[in-house]
Each structure stands twice: as structure tokens, then as C-alpha cells.
Subunit: 435 residues, 2 copies
């Protein structure tokens, strides 16, 4: 996004935990700041060396260590690329509990460190539930072996959670143990059109109850997002071309019985059509069509990039209020920018993207802090899944209480007294001393 420019003279590619440990021990003793990097697919500047930090890239630690077919537990190194893990598991009859557009580059260590959400969250939930164990190296080089492979373990504080989502600021994740669900044979995808946001919401409530245990994704995009995809991505066609619609919803079901699941989804579509919740809809007839539906939803960020400068916000907002922010922002910005709303409706996660002719302080001043204040007022989160990174470190108080942030800073101080791990990120600068 041309927002941050990295500046570093040294990139290290450790091959194993011991090397990470030696690097950190050395850097800590000399008070040299480091920035851990995975696949560099983050959107908030979390992996950017701000001044002169030493880059520690996990890419050379990319081995799968073990996979247990009985329990479905995978143990691997942090640098494994998500898509490679997905392919590996596919051959074993399992799937990763997370999937996201950046899967071809992002690494599992980065996914864990940023608590990535993604497309399967509505079904399989958070990494806090799916990650069973971690190995992490602390700032002083100490290796924390928390690499359990058990579904249940209540022996003391579950410290791995400190490293899930702390964006490399408390330690560097080097190994991951994760519970993977069995691959179910039947996947069905529908692409639907709704005329208003209220219908999208009602459709979600209905889907949760009627599709119940087979619902595996509930994504939405507005007509602005659809137009961008159709105009900027090659080979993408509108699956519902007969009319212009205001909203599009992608529903995926995953189950163990092809004919039954399909029948169930068809019945759901028919019922939704009859009750007027959807104005049109189509069920993917084969895997190519299914991919083409996903391509539309997953292609929105790419289409936005191609359209020009973009201001990106990743927000959690109670579902019923979510789209009001998009509408408010449109009124506020008028003709000066194209306001686009899409995201993981099933999780209450809106991606608000504002596409502008150029990066411009006047436009930015119209957006921020308005968008954060709006979100805070509605008890939302200013970062649903992207993290705070560099971009939002100072905005943390919009979503967290003063006492909570103070405790975060105390924990940072305890684990990284010299502040060498990913400085300027996550925590507000007022609470961190970089001397």
C-alpha cells in the first residue's frame, strides 16, 4: 500500500530454534532491536523494520515435524507456508482450521503471531481454540517449550495464548502444534444477491439455524466491491448478471454427505427466495464454478489495490450496526472517494476499504479518527483480525481499557525488558520507553 517503507541493513534466516535463540541472546545483550517476519502479508506494518531493526525471517524453518492421523494434530515449524500445510493435510484427509486469501505466501508462525482469522472462522473458530501448543523464543534467548499435542491440558497458566496475537512483541514463535479437522467430502457453495443489508442479516440468522452444523463460511460484499472485482480482475464474471444487486453473499457448507448437503442448501435457497430475503442465487455446479465464486470474494483486496490508493480498516462491529458505518462514511466523503464494504459477516467482521484517487491528508483526516470513534462508540474492535502493528498501536485505547493496556505494557516489560522485540508495534508509544 506504499504506506510504510522498511529500513534495515541485516536480514537473518535462522534454520532452527537454536539459531533464533542465539540471535536473540546476542541482540538482547547488545540491545539491538529485531523485527520478526513471516510471509510479509500483514496489512498494518507489523513486520516492517521502522528504523534499523535486524530482520529475523522464519522462512527457512519450514519443516513439518509430525502429523497424527488419529487425533488430527499437526506439528510444524513456524515458517511453513499456509498453502503448503493445506496441501499436505489434503493428502492426509484433513484440513487447516484457517484459510485466507494470502495463503500462498503467509506462514503459520505469522498466522499464529497475528491470530489470523480468515474464511473458516465461522465454523472452526479462533486460533486460541485450535492451537494446542507452541514453542517460542523469548527476548533473552530462552526457549519456551509449550509444544503440547493434547486437546486438554490444565496444568498451570496457559501461556501460549500470550504469544497468539501479540505480533512478535513478546517472543518469536518457532514451532506450532495445531488441531486440524477431518476433511469432509461434501463442499457446496452458493452465490446470492440481497437487495438490502437487513436481508443479509436475516439470511445469516436463518443460515445459522437451518444449515446449522454444515455452515462453513458466510461472506458478503457490496455492489461497490463487486464492481471493482469485475472491472479490475481478469476473467472474473458476475454469476448473477441478470440485474444489478446491492449486496452479494457467499455461503459455503461443508459436510459428510454430498447429496444430503446439497439438498439442504437447495431447500434453504428456495425458501430464502420465496420469503424474499434473496433476489437471486446460484449454486456452484462443479469445482471450477465454486472456485470462481471464491475468486470474487477473495479478489476484492487485489481489485482494490489495482484501483489505486486504498485506506483499509478491519473492524468488528455488532452485525446489526455494521453496514451503517459504510453508509455514514459514504455520506461523509461524498464524491472524493469510493467507500467499499465487504468481509466476514458471519463473524461480525467488516472490511471497510476506502479507494481514493491519491493518498491525501485531507481524505485521511475525514476518515480518522472518525472511523475509530464510531467503532468504539458501538463497542466494536478497531482491529478484528489484522492486528495493531505500527498503524494502530497508538489507537489501542479505542478498543481496550486503560487498566488492560497498562497490564499489557507490564507484561511486555517482564518478557522483553530491553524492548528489543518488534518495537513501535502493538502497544502505544506513550507506555513504552525506547531508550
Amino acid at each position: 500500500m506504499h504506506k510504510y517503507k522498511g529500513s534495515s541493513k541485516l536480514l537473518l534466516l535462522p534454520r532452527n530454534t537454536e539459531e533464533v535463540s542465539k540471535i536473540l541472546e546476542y541482540c538482547n545483550s547488545r540491545r539491538l532491536a529485531v523485527v520478526p517476519q513471516g510471509g510479509n502479508t500483514g496489512l498494518v506494518g507489523g513486520s516492517v523494520p521502522v528504523f534499523d531493526e535486524v530482520i529475523i525471517n522464519a522462512g527457512s524453518m519450514n519443516k513439518i515435524i509430525a502429523f497424527d492421523k488419529v487425533s488430527g494434530i499437526l506439528v510444524c515449524e513456524a515458517g511453513c507456508i499456509l498453502e503448503n500445510l493445506i496441501s499436505y493435510l489434503d493428502n492426509q484427509g484433513f484440513i487447516m482450521p484457517l484459510d485466507l486469501g494470502a495463503k500462498g505466501s503467509c506462514q503459520i508462525g505469522g498466522n499464529v503471531s497475528t491470530n489470523a482469522g480468515g474464511l473458516r472462522f465461522v465454523r472452526y473458530g479462533s486460533l486460541h481454540g485450535n492451537v494446542l501448543g507452541l514453542e517460542a523464543v523469548l527476548a533473552n534467548g530462552d526457549v519456551l517449550d509449550m509444544l503440547g499435542t493434547l486437546r486438554k491440558d490444565n496444568t498451570g497458566y496457559d501461556l501460549k495464548h500470550l504469544f497468539i496475537g501479540s505480533e512478535g512483541s513478546l517472543g518469536i514463535v518457532t514451532k506450532v502444534s495445531i488441531l486440524t479437522p477431518p476433511k469432509l467430502s461434501s463442499v457446496n457453495i452458493a452465490f446470492l444477491a440481497c437487495e438490502d443489508y437487513l436481508s443479509c442479516q436475516k439470511l445469516l440468522s436463518e443460515a445459522k439455524r437451518k444449515l446449522g452444523e454444515i455452515l462453513s463460511a458466510f461472506e458478503f460484499l457490496d455492489s461497490h466491491a463487486m464492481d471493482l472485482v469485475l472491472n479490475h480482475l481478469e476473467g472474473v464474471r458476475n454469476p448473477l448478471p441478470s440485474a444489478v444487486h446491492n449486496f452479494y453473499v457467499l455461503i459455503e457448507t461443508t459436510g459428510s454427505d454430498e447429496s444430503y448437503d446439497k439438498e439442504k442448501l437447495e431447500a434453504f435457497l428456495l425458501h430464502s427466495m420465496e420469503s424474499g430475503l434473496i433476489s437471486d442465487g446460484v449454486l456452484a455446479q462443479d469445482i471450477n464454478q465454486a472456485s470462481s465464486f471464491w475468486r470474487i470474494r477473495e479478489g476484492v483486496p487485489e481489485a482494490l489495490m489495482r484501483a489505486g490508493p486504498v485506506y483499509k480498516y478491519d473492524l468488528s462491529i455488532p452485525v446489526e450496526k455494521m453496514y451503517s458505518l459504510v453508509e455514514d462514511m459514504r455520506l461523509r466523503l461524498g464524491q472524493s472517494a469510493n467507500v467499499v464494504g465487504y468481509g466476514h459477516l458471519g463473524d461480525g467482521n467488516l472490511h471497510l476499504n476506502i479507494s481514493a484517487p491519491r493518498y491525501d491528508d485531507t481524505i485521511l483526516a475525514q476518515i480518522e479518527p472518525y472511523v475509530y470513534e464510531w467503532t468504539s462508540k458501538h463497542r466494536g474492535s478497531i482491529s478484528a483480525e489484522h492486528g495493531l502493528g505500527l498503524m494502530k498501536a497508538n489507537e489501542i485505547f479505542y478498543s481496550k481499557s486503560h487498566e488492560t493496556v497498562q497490564l499489557m505494557a507490564s507484561i511486555k516489560k517482564l518478557l522483553d525488558p530491553n524492548g528489543i522485540l518488534n518495537p513501535y508495534k502493538v502497544l502505544p508509544h506513550s507506555l513504552c520507553s525506547y531508550s
Copy 2:
């Protein structure tokens, strides 16, 4: 179990967070130790005042604060009894993601503080995944408002996880926000017999794949457990009386379509019978029969209590090795005790119970530390779901590395510098100074 005798001169029943805060502020300033109590259903002495601790009982904080029917998010006070929450949600068309035998007394604050597992874990996973937010009071009286009601929130360290499973030693949980799944209309239960443990294992693998998304419980008990239930609980009958079997398995499915789900479970049973995995089996025909099946599994702890003194162990062990411990223990103890194995097979969680004619140091010396060493050797956990409490605080190193326990102690020191919160519990005494 007559194992611990509480000793306290003062029990306080705060009515709200502010009162908890004032109590802790006062106790902290005078260095008075406190023990937080929920429903007192723990099994490891976690809520017992060891010497003279002030008891802070959450029972008077029992209000439901809010329930959002769109998102299924429940917010309530810590003292709500689990069964009351289950009933409340039932009326709203939702269920709690956890359920356990002690539901009639245990409180949600205690469930969260001990990271309770229970009977629905195989389907809905851990409280680390289901609890969305918490309010907790720190040792110094500071109130930490982390009571978010969002499925996704990546704004800084997710500190609520520190309080989930730390058994009241880092703070007192006063409010909980939890994601509750929609109640699905179709619940089916089968009670099956297997002749050997290997068949139970294979049946689990098959069930995960063939019942897939509708599997909601997979519990087992051995013939020793069954005999105890039949002999000590009134009105319980063996659903499979035609022969004596070595193992019994209870399978529950939960889905959205009664006739289809039943058909699926029936087909699964038929196939398992034909392939010889099960030697007998019966499907509950109505809700009374379903309850009677659950009564057998849930009645095991009660039957054991009635049979006399019992040594209880709650272990996570890789499924394939789990029952070997029961057999090894039988060989080791010979005629001196009745060794019983049952538990949550679907989660790799064994409840090893040893029923003896009397509490006897000779028997105990035969069991401990052998059972912990065995578990540690197989990379298991010496506490799957019960926690460490007083009973196993000093045994933590069997399941956690030295560096990890050291960091736990540092975090304890940071949050509770005077060590007033639930002393003598969770962490090994060697790392805590009680001056």
C-alpha cells in the same frame, strides 16, 4: 473425598464487582490471603482455604446481564450456576458450549477459572475458544474490563486467557461473556459395547469421519465402572444386558434434521456391528432413555464415592496409549484396589479412578508418583481438565518445562506481588514465597 479440610473464619459474599474490588484492595493492603470460591465442585482442593484464608464466594453475583439472540452471545455474572444458564438459553433456543456432571452446583466463574472441559468439548472445544470476554478483579482491587462481546478482536495481547484456567490465583473473575451455539433440534444417543480397547479407538476414528459434523459426544467407560454404577446407583439398568462386555461407549449426535441424523447414526451402528467393532448397541428411543444412558456415564463419579475411598486422576494421554495405564495400574495394585477407567475418549481425556477399602499410604505410594511419571513419559498432561489446585501444585513439572513454570511464577509475582490470591495452589511451593 475427605482429602482436604477447609479452615477459615470468614466467608464473604460480595454482591457486585465493586464489593469484590473493595475486599481485595483491603486484603491486599493488609496482606490477608483470600480463596475465591464458586460452587465448590472442584476435585483438586483449589477452593479450599488451607490455613486461614478469607473466603470470597461468588454465589451472590448471579445475574444474567444480556443475551443477544442474533449473535448468541451471553453476558452474565460469575456466580451464575451452569444449569441455570443452560435452562435460560434453552428457552432462547441456544445451548451452553460446555456441560458437565456438576452443572447443578458449579458456577460459570469457576468453570472459566478452572477452564472446565466436560461433555461437549469434542464438539465445541475449549473455553479459550468460547469465552469472548471477561471482567476480573486483580489482587490490588483494580478492575480489568475485558468484557468484549465480539467474536474477533485483535487489539493487543488477549489477556483474558491468563484468567481462564489460572484457578483464581491471578485475579477473581466477576463477569463472563460467552459465545453460545444455536440449539439444534435433533439429538440422538447410542449406547454401545466393545470387547477391547482397540475397537473403542477405531470406533472413534470412524465416528469422527462418518458422523463428522453431527458428533457431539464420545464417552467411554470400562466394565469396572459399569459394575459400580449398576451396584451403587438406584434405578440404573444396563441397556445391554444380554452379555458382559469389557467396554461401553456413549455416542451423541446433535444436528438440525431429526430423521436424517437418526438414519445416519443407525447406518453407522449397523456398519460398526458388521465390521465387528461393536458387539452390541442400542439407540435411545426417547428422551427418557437418552437421559438414562447419560445417567450411566455421568453417574460414575457418584457410584465411586458411594463405593468408598477413591483416588482420582484426570489425565490427557494420546488416545492409543490411554488404556495401557489402567492395565498397568491394575497389575501394579493387584487385589488391593479396584482400578476404574472412564472418560472423554474423544478428547484423549482419561479419568483414572482407584477405589480402595480405605485411604492408605501404602496404596498411595504405589500410585504416586508412578501415575505422574507414566503420564509424563508419554507426553501427557497430569491434569486434563480438573486443574492443579492444592493436590498437584508441586507436580506441575511432570507436564510443564522449567522455563515455562518459571515464567508462570513471574507473571504471578507481577499480578499478585503479595501472594494473597489463592496461595498454595497451582504453582509449586518452591517458586512462591509466602512470607
